[in-house]
Amino acid sequence: MNYLVDPFANNEFMRLALFGGILVACTCAIAGTFVVLRGLAFVGDALAHGVLPGIATAMLLGFSGILGAAIGAAVMMGGVSIVSRKFRLSGDTAIGLLFVGMLSLGVVITSRSTSFVGDLTRILFGELLGITTTDLAWQFAALIIVGAIAFVSRRPFLLLSVDDGLARTSGFSARLFHNVMLTMVAITVIASFQTVGTLLVLGMLIAPAATGSLFARRIESMMLIAALVGSLSTYIGLLISYHYDLAAGASIVLTAVMIFAVSATANEVRKARGHDHHDHEHPHVHGEIHV
């Protein structure tokens, strides 16, 4: 029991890390659900890396890293939109171009100074164990904003997850709500980079939501499962990090991916057993079509 509780009971930095990680998990569960449903993982990845030059520039010039990240995300989203429309390139090509361009720019800026080496690691992998109450407040604000966006836009987001055409013929602007969805993902990335880092926030966006999609029958339950998996991953990852002196952010994301792997395997086994059972009970049910 001490092994499971003492690290948090005896260390304030561990408690703050746990709270911060759970807030990240809940924020990522909401945004990540739509990232998974709409197939935006590559955009999420690009946004996560696209903020790097903004943060690096902010550090170089001495202004807020969050503001720099927001500028980086805005440049990334605007650039993808312009390149894909003006140059008639597919969405993933435009995203790929901006992705490598922004990442390279970020590395070029950070390479100007040797003192940036530590900062670059912090940007990419976060500093969960150094989280402050101010960071928690920012993360909580992000959770509220992301939750409000998802609630207000739940209907067009759901339609977009099925088909752009369905959203448009239902009276919702596909382009507008696609951009609203990207903004929601950008807010999640910007708010989470201080805790799990830009590289690992993608793992928290995708792995818990992907686990949720295996079992859920409704969007709300997918979000709930994603939040629970993300929170559990935070707890387990922090424990492993504490006891074995491993990187906290990476341990959390690795745990989330492992939970997905185990869940997916269990789900396949369950379905295989279900099919066998089903076939014996209803041998003629397959292939029937009645309208």
Binding site: R155, S161, D163, L166, T169, G171, F172, A216, V291
Partner: protein
């Protein structure tokens, strides 16, 4: 009020029209059947009527408004509705999406909305699977679900792109009955199909082969010379 009006309409992608010189008028309760081979322009015309593609030339209105302007009164069933295997949605949630055009962003769904969703599922015979995940259903069952979603819109104009694709004879009969019921309520239907039999009850048939081969009552539009021109064969008499 004329339900669907088109004059000298050209539809297509980019700069090249797929079909041009389309002129027609449909009144409430009428059925227009679009028949043609793959790539003949049926889906392109339906997408234009749905507001998903801009018309290239000419004029087109649905219920006196431009395409795409009346989402609560015009419903569109695409040729291959998406049923992503990643979507964690049960049948009733997919059908309920047919009410979103009426609810917009902020309205709360009411008992009336729920009753319409249930009735739509019953009409397509999918109500017994209301709580099943759509990703676990067969192609025919998914088609019934999407058809129920279109019915739940309670629209005045239905644009249906091959709604019987993948259905057996009973399924096709049931869809024909649904269309007849909708027409009796005054709903105008534009139906794209490969089945000549679907044209029997139509007010108007348009035979397409990247141009309008014929347009008129079924007996006129499906004459042997037009069918031969369109498909290379005629109907057995």
């Amino acid at each position: 009020m004329t339900s669907v009006h088109a004059s000298s309409l050209a539809v297509g992608y980019g700069k090249r029209p797929v079909v041009d010189n389309i002129s027609l008028d449909l009144q409430p309760g009428e059925l227009l059947v679009l028949i043609g081979t793959n790539g003949s322009g049926k889906s392109t015309l339906l997408k234009t009527l749905a507001g998903l593609i801009e018309p290239m030339q000419g004029k087109v209105t649905l219920l006196s408004s431009a395409p795409g302007q009346l989402p609560t009164q015009v419903a569109y069933l695409p040729q291959h509705p998406v049923s992503s295997h990643t979507l964690p949605l049960c049948v009733q949630d997919v059908v309920a999406m047919g009410r979103f055009a009426h609810l917009g962003l902020f309205k709360r769904s009411t008992d009336t909305d729920r009753a319409i969703v249930l009735e739509s599922m019953k009409r397509t015979g999918i109500d017994s699977q209301a709580n099943d995940p759509i990703r676990d259903l067969s192609g025919g069952q998914q088609q019934r679900t999407h058809l129920a979603q279109v019915l739940a819109r309670r629209a005045e104009v239905l644009l249906l792109d091959e709604p019987t694709a993948g259905l057996d004879l009973n399924g096709r009969k049931a869809v024909a009955e649904l269309i007849a019921t909708e027409r009796s309520r005054g709903v105008t239907v534009v139906l794209a199909t490969h089945e000549l039999a679907d044209a029997e009850s139509a007010n108007m048939v348009m035979l397409l082969a990247q141009r309008v081969v014929s347009l008129g009552a079924p007996t006129e539009a499906l004459r042997d010379e037009y069918l031969r021109e369109c498909f290379g064969f005629t109907q057995p008499h």
